[in-house]
Symmetry: C2
Subunit: 152 residues, 2 copies
């Protein structure tokens, strides 16, 4: 399926929140309501004005079929190397199994190369059984156990 990748606009936000909520983990933590809770709109504004954050959508036939966020982080380590972090990767349930997630990630890896990043990194919730294999097939290695401390 030919996909078009672009930065999300404010108008894409309902489709993005719908995909985030349509997920066994997201269902417990998102509020897919109409109108959207203001916190989503505020966060979109912060991402939109931050040159180191890009919220991306994949479009097919004019419809939003996937999303991810990519963050570029300058750092002193690795001789002042920049790293790319990918978060919130989702494919619309109706379009699963067609390689859209793989195309999304390949787009993100190319975007990281363009920005001269030394690595792309991500964490996946250990409850996402299939995700680990999906990322391994793209070349990722599980070399860095991820840890989280929830504050809320």
């Amino acid at each position: 399926m030919p996909l078009k990748f672009r930065q999300a606009t404010r108008e894409d936000l309902p489709a993005i929140v719908r995909m985030l909520a349509d997920d066994f983990l997201g269902a417990t933590r998102e509020r897919n309501e109409n109108p959207l809770p203001e916190s989503y709109v505020k966060a979109f504004g912060e991402i939109e004005t931050d040159k180191n954050n890009e919220l991306i959508v994949a479009e097919a036939n004019g419809e939003i079929v996937g999303t991810l966020q990519i963050t570029f982080t300058p750092s002193i380590s690795f001789q002042g190397g920049k790293r790319a972090t990918v978060e919130s990767v989702r494919v619309d349930d109706k379009y699963r199994g067609q390689g859209i997630g793989k195309q999304l990630m390949q787009w993100a890896i190319n975007r990281a190369r363009e920005e001269n990043c030394f690595a792309v990194q991500l964490t996946t919730n250990s409850e996402r059984a299939d995700a680990h294999r999906f990322y391994e097939e793209l070349g990722f290695k599980g070399s860095h156990p991820g840890m989280k401390l929830y504050l809320k």
Copy 2:
């Protein structure tokens, strides 16, 4: 030991690179030279001008004894929640075993609360055998396997 935490200045950069290089992993990837390679200075400038990135040093008796970087990332997921990511945590070899790393991390956790983050996240190289327990003692849970794809 009473510590003072503050944002790093350009003058702290040699001490920071020295700590990053004085490490079994860092030794293979940093260049602790005088003058410092330009890539470190460039990265410092990018961090300094990015409101979502803070390079922190811990000072004791006017000496730099530790460092970390904290990144704040706005996101759509978690109802537009902001997350904090901690990277490049180091304590000067001479000052190990005095609880400085713990104080550094507690400072970072408080900083994340100030910024209203819903979580603090980090990854540790699986070769850092003691790091996992250190972070668990601070309340972190290894709930999210981290994966990396090196591009260089």
